[in-house]
């Protein structure tokens, strides 16, 4: 099983190299991309199975001794996040293949899209599987640099403007991360996640909390936690539909994953009431400010971006509580959220394709012209708002229950904020759905931009795009059917992250070399 670990990184990297070389053969490019991402999905599924049956797996690359070489680790949390993200990247890749050369392409260099997308996927894999802080940083950078290129693909005025904001904000967070990394190394002499828990808890409390805050700040910026979330709704809506979908699904959640690791594995032994209170406040404000922002929007894409920010708050909710039940619920919610946001952004891409606009002032009556799209939007939208029996409801219920069990002012404040956010999400979503699909008036388009009527356009949405979007919607809806086992798995993943002893002994470091002397026998290639 351990031999599979580097595959999750190598497949997309090799695919990226191959698609770069195949730049002039778009059809071959598509086959390579889909094959590589399918391979990652299969690998992730195998890793999850392995982690669930045999416990966490780890491998040290390049036959270096443990604690020196680059280690990749797949516990249940890593593998579950990796599987979810690879399903998303694969679906989005199918969507963009379906979009084909007829999409918004006039100025888009399509040949660069596939290699960049695959590199992004590789970066996500590195980040989820990283066994040391520095490799996590490298994973972040690989996916961020790819995302810079994807966001500004085509170089239109709107994308350059949004791209500049996005790149500047991301660099700030990367510099913060690197600073935190340097300080952690200066204080402890290691960046291995196996050694750090022991060494960090041995530090004076003030130093440890300082390090924790620098890292949380860096990850909070990436995860778009309030008040560091203002950049997101300004940058995502300008991107091409598939790009926005994969960003919405994955990028912020990699930040959430890093916060998860920071709070459980790294600083689990550092007890600070101030940090916990801070996280509670951030979680509440992220939920409420995000959803209030969504209500004020008149553009479907911006509205979705604000709900995305808002629901990051639910995952912080779980992290702030920090019990196994709360963390498990947050993991479940992250899986649900990655899929549901991707589904919604893909369907918004369909709406844009069908109607020619995403402005709620112009959209209208699309339900008659495109009833299929109306249904595709409605299912994940209700799911997001937390209507039973969808997975959004189950995830929120698990979080609220964990909050109620914990008790105390902070936990009840989180519960109340969670319920209010859920209701406001329902309002924002139903308003958007009604304006887009239900209202009597037809979509009004600028005649200069689009000479044909919206109804005529709606019939020309490529079936492959609809099929890919339908796939994600089906997957996220089907989460309900496997909610019980998935919630158990999520609880197990949370337990994995809290069991620092087991994690350390599996990863192996300078302090605790792995019991079976593993890591020296596998000769993988070095990660980039």
């Amino acid at each position: 099983m351990r031999v599979l670990l580097p595959l999750a990184v190598l497949l997309p990297v090799l695919g990226a190299a191959l698609t770069l070389a195949l730049g002039s053969h778009p059809v071959a490019q598509r086959w390579v991309s889909v094959a590589a991402l399918s391979g990652v999905t299969a690998t992730a599924a195998a890793l999850l199975f392995g982690a669930a049956t045999d416990g966490p797996q780890s491998v040290v690359l390049g036959a270096w001794p443990a604690g020196v070489g680059i280690s990749l680790v797949a516990d249940r949390l890593s593998a579950l996040m990796l599987l979810t993200s690879s399903v998303v990247t694969l679906s989005v890749m199918l969507f963009s293949v379906g979009q084909g050369s007829t999409g918004d392409t006039e100025r888009t260099p399509v040949s660069i899209y596939h290699p960049t997308f695959l590199t992004l996927s590789a970066g996500v894999s590195i980040a989820f599987l990283a066994g040391d802080l520095f490799n996590l940083y490298v994973g972040f950078e690989v996916l961020l640099v790819s995302s810079y290129v994807l966001l500004t693909l085509g170089g239109t005025a709107a994308r350059v403007r949004a791209g500049m904001t996005y790149v500047v904000v991301s660099i700030v967070s990367s510099l913060l991360f690197l600073t935190g990394l340097g300080l952690v190394y200066a204080a402890t002499g290691t960046v291995s996640m196996a050694d750090l828990p022991g060494r960090l808890s041995g530090l004076p409390l003030a130093v440890a909390v300082g390090l924790q805050l620098v890292l949380l700040l860096a990850f909070g910026l990436k995860a778009a936690a309030f008040p560091l979330s203002g950049w997101l709704p300004d940058s995502y809506p300008t991107a091409a539909a598939p790009v926005a979908a994969v960003f919405a699904g994955l990028l912020t959640k990699v930040g959430v994953y890093a916060i998860f690791r920071t709070q459980t594995v790294l600083f689990g032994g550092v007890e600070s009431a101030a940090v916990t209170t801070g996280l509670v406040v951030v979680a509440i404000m992220t939920m409420l400010v995000g959803i209030l922002g969504a209500i004020a929007q008149n553009d479907l894409k911006r509205l979705m971006s604000f709900t995305l920010v808002s629901h990051i708050g639910y995952m912080l909710f779980g992290v702030a509580l920090g019990t196994v039940e709360a963390l498990g619920a947050a993991v479940f919610y992250a899986v649900h959220h990655i899929l549901v946001q991707t589904a919604l952004f893909l369907v918004v891409g369909l709406v844009e394709r069908a109607a020619g606009t995403t402005s709620l002032r112009r959209l209208g009556g699309l339900g008659g012209a495109a009833p299929g799209i109306a249904l595709l939007f409605l299912l994940p939208a209700l799911n997001l708002a937390g209507i039973p029996p969808f997975s959004g409801f189950i995830g929120k219920l698990a979080l609220l229950r964990a909050g109620a069990e914990e008790g105390g002012f902070a936990a009840w404040a989180l519960v109340v904020a969670g319920v209010v956010t859920s209701l406001l999400t329902l309002y924002a979503i139903s308003r958007a759905w009604a304006a887009t699909f239900w209202s009597g008036r037809a979509t009004r388009l600028d005649p200069e931009v689009s000479p044909e009527t919206a109804a005529a356009r709606a019939h020309r949405v490529p079936p492959a795009m609809v099929a890919a979007a339908t796939g994600v919607v089906v997957v996220v809806t089907a989460l309900t059917l496997v909610a019980g086992p998935l919630l158990d798995l999520a609880d197990g993943a949370a337990a994995d992250t809290l069991d620092v002893q087991q994690y350390s002994s599996v990863v192996g470091g300078l302090d605790t070399p792995p019991a079976d002397g593993s890591g020296g026998t596998d000769s993988g290639e070095k990660a980039p």
């Binding site: 640099v145 170089g155 500049m164 990367s174």
Partner: protein, 106 residues
């Protein structure tokens, strides 16, 4: 001590430049900030507070801590790529509107 002063100077100048209006100054500011942080990471090294990174080095005289150097090497490459991308964006933006001031709600 010298390094601490240099890091402080680099970060202060970088922050000041990043907060300026012109986008080229922002880019240069990030280059300086990057250098400051890289120096900080370099000073984090030290073989006295931990063992030798690679086995078999004992008794061969003083050895620098290689890990922070490897970190910085990686960070420098990344910073270089990002700087080039920023400059590319800047150029594209100028070509689009002949105005490098970050005006409006950018």
């Amino acid at each position: 001590m010298t390094t601490a002063v240099v890091v402080a100077l680099l970060v202060a100048t970088g922050t000041w430049l990043v907060l300026r209006r012109g986008l080229l100054r922002v880019v240069v500011g990030f280059v300086l900030l990057g250098h400051g942080v890289n120096l900080l990471v370099l000073t984090a090294g030290g073989t006295d507070r931990r063992g030798f990174a690679l086995p078999g080095q004992q008794g061969q005289g003083p050895v620098a801590d290689p890990l922070p150097q490897a970190f910085v090497l990686t960070a420098v490459v990344i910073a270089f790529a990002v700087t080039v991308h920023l400059l590319g964006l800047l150029r594209q933006g100028q070509a689009l509107d002949e105005d490098d001031d970050a005006e409006g709600p950018a």
